[in-house]
């Protein structure tokens, strides 16, 4: 996969979509193509988050630690993004990511992402909008589940 295809991939995600094309390309150029073997723990809940990963190929199991052992909450695959919360701030990982197969990713580090955002106030505003929407959704879900119970 060439840089151009990676740029295409990056562009699909809302948090990167409002960046100017040159910046998307810069982000792709400065990101790292990283392959994980099957059964590899990409990161653990509680770790400091340093990067997010765009999955190019393979599947990943997301689990959260509970007193009764890890609880699988999700499985992610091709063209999905994981760990993106980490690149917004100093939030520790909320879940553990383990590869189920050989996984190919594009690793975008927090430092690079932030330094690109810092130069682009428009993209920052867009980012705030996305986060606000997510927050609203979470709140709505939360109150729904409260009502149910």
């Amino acid at each position: 996969m060439s840089l151009e295809q990676e740029v295409e991939l990056i562009r699909r995600f809302p948090i990167f979509s409002k960046l100017p094309p040159a910046k998307q390309k810069l982000l792709a150029f400065t990101s790292e193509r990283l392959t994980f073997d099957a059964g590899h723990v990409m990161f653990r809940a509680g770790d400091a988050g340093e990067a997010c990963y765009i999955v190019i190929d393979g599947s990943i199991e997301i689990s959260v630690p509970t007193p009764n052992g890890p609880l699988v909450v999700n499985t992610l695959g091709r063209n999905e993004i994981i760990g993106e919360i980490a690149i917004f701030g100093d939030v520790p990982r909320t879940a553990t990511a383990t590869t189920l197969s050989r996984v190919e990713t594009l690793r975008i580090s927090k430092d690079q992402f932030l330094s690109v955002i810092r130069e682009n106030p428009d993209a920052a505003v867009e980012l705030i909008r996305i986060l606000a929407t997510r927050l609203a959704n979470t709140t709505a879900q939360f109150s729904k589940s409260l009502q149910k119970s």
Partner: protein, 905 residues
């Protein structure tokens, strides 16, 4: 030190000054003769006086003088001379003149040489004395002095003093003698003309120095401001982090600028006055010939003076102003250097200078071995007059491990420094195994005690040299000298003695093996490895060793091992789960994890010739590229790369972190590259200038296909690069062979690091955790092959840089602690020495150090109270007083101040 410059000069160079005196007197006699002879030449053979007949003769070398009337007017006959005709007589006289000039020149040469020697010896002595004073300053004194100022004083400011020493006594004698001789000569020739000369000289000597007084003041002020400037610049360099952190660079610029402005004004005034004085001086000295021509000419016309005498007088007068002027210069220099000397000496004077006897060289002093460390009634008053330590008394066994704890400002650090005798107590005393520590020579305290502070200093040497630094008390094994070398050494020693310098041989082996508990260098090496373990430094040194490139001279005995490791590594890497982690160098394959440059050279550059930055401009590389038809293709790749870089990076601000990390082109070069790109679209790639071509061609060399993923190097191009690779090594001219170490699976590559040698390839990018896994594998392998000690040895040769800057602070502290342990002191004092380490490492270090010091004393000022649990005895300091002492358990139960520190009270 002598308070005045002349005191210093007389004390140390009297003998040499006196030795020069006879030469000065001799030179005056010859000088007089050279003044007198021209008169005879003009008057006798040239003007014909005494040669009235064609065959008249004159006596040559006739030594007959008619004494002046006031001496009785009789004549003295020494030699009647050879009779000569007019022309031979002219030859004889002029050749005599030439000989006289040569002799007096030779005498002057000798005087100058001797002066020079003397001056240099005195300069050497002065510098050494000043440095000696630095060595003897008490520690608190260093809070008041600036390192940069001290260094410039010793280096630059005393240099003119050295030059002046040679001139100090001889020059006034010589110049004065010369002036007096000339004046006497003129007076002797003609009284009136003599009087004219005398008047001018008197005016010169009275007026000019007066005008120069202001000059002196100015130059003194200038010196002071310049020295402060040096100090200030050093401050800015030291505080550069604060400057950037607080955006005060412009404030500092303004500050320096105002200082420079002051210096400018001072210097400007200085020059103006200097030139004014010069003008007056010149005027005066040129006025006199005018008078001579006028009066002397008139006297000659009326026949009261012969031409020869007039010529001689004018010649003699020409020599008169310059010695007088130089004499005035000398006087000014005397004042100037005198002031300089006093200023420098003031800076280097301290009332509480450590007496010389305390630092005397003692080869094997009686060191305290066992017994009690007893401090009684210790007090320390700091410069501001407040009591930092107040009446502290304690005792413990020298073999015990003692912790000392206290809040900030408790004085624990001061107590540690006192115990190490770095700071003398104001009151009270410290006894260690029967030795009075406050009075013992440094040879005892510096060997029986080790002290490590919170920010220990490393010298810019190798790790090993820093570790053994604490063993260098005296030249233990002298170097044997023989034949020519012995003669040189003796001369060297004599000169050192004459200048009052140290005569100890720096080339000797200074390492005191016995102090480290070993008997030779080999055993010491073993001991150093143990110490590395104790201070948790082994991994670091191992790592550093792996990353070092070792030349064949050092690598002897290692090369085979490394090649074996390379082979074993290759076998291990065949295992399916890790075989993709490393892409090995293969002559017949393009390595996508290596740069294009590495792929082309297929080797490691040695020196600058084939350095990445120089490749595109290198004539041979260009030839290889042209021969294989690659130039055009690479240029196209370079062009595309430049386009991409401009697109990606051109709107980032300068200094953006991404430039350094990712851009192929620096921010400063970007505009230039943009212009080149614009030009290319106008006139095409073929017609751009050579420089632009080089710039574009240099870019692709940095490309690593696997990492950069720009798709610029396709398989066809790879194949062509492989062809160029073959061409490169096959036609490599003999003179360039030394500039590159080609990759060869069977050969050790002395330009590459050990790690790269073993790997013989590149860690594949894009494999998660590849670096860590390969690193682990390599370690296992080196352990299996028993190569670890050799790698450590190479790591120990790593240069730590200025102040140890090439190592992290924690490692610097570890080395300092290792240095302190290596010399096996009776008492090891650690003053928060591990506080920069993270808590886990600190725990481990403490455990290891205490383990290795079992049965020997440790006195540890702790920054974390809970660590005191590991010590047999604990002292609690509060506000400079001993608040409690006892075992950890007892204190934890019963001592309120300790509970307070623990946070349990």
């Amino acid at each position: 030190m002598e308070r005045s410059l002349f005191g210093f000069i007389l004390r140390y160079s009297k003998r040499e000054q006196i030795l020069i005196l006879p030469l000065v007197v001799a030179s005056m006699l010859f000088y007089f003769a050279t003044l007198d002879l021209p008169k005879a030449i003009v008057n006798q053979p040239i003007s014909g006086k005494g040669f009235s007949q064609p065959d008249s003769t004159m006596p040559f070398l006739r030594f007959v003088w008619k004494l002046p009337d006031f001496l009785g007017g009789s004549t003295v006959h020494l030699f009647e001379g050879f009779a000569m005709e007019r022309t031979p007589y002219l030859f004889a006289l002029t050749i005599s003149f030439l000989i006289l000039i040569i002799i007096s020149g030779l005498i002057k040469l000798q005087i100058n040489t001797m002066k020079g020697w003397m001056g240099e010896r005195m300069l050497r002595r002065l510098r050494f004395t000043l440095f000696d004073h630095i060595m003897r300053f008490p520690l608190p004194h260093f809070r008041r002095v600036k390192a940069a100022e001290m260094a410039t004083m010793i280096k630059d400011e005393v240099e003119p003093l050295g030059a002046f020493v040679g001139d100090s006594i001889i020059t006034p004698l010589f110049l004065g003698g010369q002036a007096l001789t000339a004046l006497f000569f003129i007076l002797y020739q003609h009284v009136y003309l003599g009087l004219v000369a005398l008047v001018v000289v008197v005016v010169q000597t009275v007026i000019i120095p007066k005008m120069r007084r202001r000059l002196l003041v100015l130059s003194k002020e200038q010196q002071l401001t310049a020295r402060q400037l040096a100090g200030r610049i050093a401050e800015c360099v030291d505080g550069v982090t604060e400057i950037h952190a607080h955006d005060t660079s412009n404030y500092e610029r303004a500050e320096i600028s105002s200082r420079l402005g002051r210096i400018f004004l001072l210097r400007f005034e200085l020059y103006q006055r200097k030139f004014m004085v010069k003008f007056l001086n010149n005027l005066l000295s040129q006025m006199t010939p005018f008078l001579f021509y006028l009066i002397g000419g008139y006297l000659a016309i009326i026949g009261r003076l012969d031409i020869g005498t007039l010529v001689a007088v004018i010649a003699a007068y020409k020599d008169l102003p310059s010695p007088v002027k130089e004499l005035i210069d000398w006087d000014q220099q005397r004042l100037d250097t005198g002031i300089k000397y006093t200023q420098v000496v003031e800076q280097f004077t301290a009332d509480d200078l450590v007496p010389q006897s305390q630092q005397e060289l003692i080869e094997s002093p009686q060191l305290p071995q066992q017994g009690l460390v007893r401090a009684s009634n210790l007090s320390l008053v700091d410069e501001s007059g407040s009591k930092v330590i107040d009446g502290v008394s304690f005792e413990f066994d020298m073999a015990q491990h003692v912790a000392i704890v206290g809040a900030a400002g408790s004085g624990s650090g001061d107590l540690a420094q006192m115990l190490a005798r770095l700071v003398p107590p104001t009151n009270g005393n410290i006894d260690m195994g029967g030795v009075d520590i406050t009075r013992a020579p440094e040879a005892v305290t510096g060997r029986a005690i080790s002290y490590v502070g919170a920010a220990a200093f490393l010298f810019p040497l190798s790790i090993r040299d820093n570790l053994v630094y604490g063993l260098k008390h005296w030249p233990v094994h002298e170097v044997p000298y023989e034949g020519e070398a012995l003669k040189k050494r003796e001369h060297w020693l004599k000169e050192s003695e004459r200048a009052g310098n140290s005569t100890l041989d720096i080339a000797a082996d200074w390492i005191d093996y016995k102090a480290a508990g070993v008997s030779n260098a080999q055993e010491l090496e073993q001991r150093i490895l143990e110490v590395l373990k104790s201070v948790d430094l082994e991994e670091t040194v191992f790592e550093v060793g792996l990353k070092s490139a070792v030349g064949p001279d050092q690598a002897a005995g290692l090369m085979d091992g490394i090649l074996l490791a390379r082979e074993t590594m290759r076998e291990r890497l065949n295992q399916p789960d890790i075989k993709d982690l490393v892409e090995r160098f293969d002559l017949s394959r393009y390595n996508r994890n290596a740069t294009l440059a590495e792929n082309l050279l297929f080797g490691t550059p040695v020196g600058k010739t084939f350095d990445m930055e120089n490749l595109a401009r290198n004539a041979y590389v260009r030839k290889v590229l042209d021969d294989t038809g690659l130039s055009g293709d690479l240029l196209k790749v370079g062009y595309k790369l430049a386009e991409t870089m401009v697109e990606l990076f051109s709107d980032l601000p300068p200094g953006h972190e991404m430039f350094e990390q990712f851009s192929f082109i620096s921010h400063d070069d970007l505009p230039g590259v943009k212009e080149i790109l614009a030009q290319v679209s106008d006139i095409g790639l073929d017609r751009i200038t050579e420089d632009d071509r080089n710039l574009l061609l240099a870019l692709p060399f940095k490309l690593i296909s696997a990492r950069h993923r720009l798709g610029l190097i396709d398989e066809a191009l790879e194949a062509r690069i492989l062809e160029a690779r073959r061409h490169f090594s096959e036609t490599l001219p003999a003179e360039l062979r030394g500039a590159v170490e080609l990759f060869d699976p069977q050969r050790y590559n002395s330009a590459a690091s050990l790690q790269d040698n073993i790997l013989f390839g590149k860690i594949a990018s894009g494999q998660a955790g590849a670096g860590a896994r390969i690193g682990l594998l390599m370690r296992q392998l080196l352990d299996e092959l028993k190569l670890r000690p050799l790698v450590l040895k190479i790591g120990l040769a790593f240069q730590v840089g200025t102040g140890g800057a090439r190592l992290p602070v924690a490692d610097r502290q570890r080395i300092a602690i290792g240095r302190a342990i290596l010399k096996r002191p009776a008492l090891l004092i650690l003053d928060q020495a591990g506080s920069v380490l993270d808590p886990a490492s600190q725990n481990r270090l403490l455990e290891n150090v205490l383990q290795c010091r079992r049965g020997s004393g440790v006195f540890w000022v702790l920054n974390r109270v809970e660590l005191a649990e590991r010590f047999g005895h604990v002292l609690v300091l509060d506000g400079g007083r001993l608040a409690a002492s006892g075992s950890y358990g007892d204190l934890k139960e019963g001592s309120e101040p300790f509970q307070h520190l623990l946070g349990t009270a």
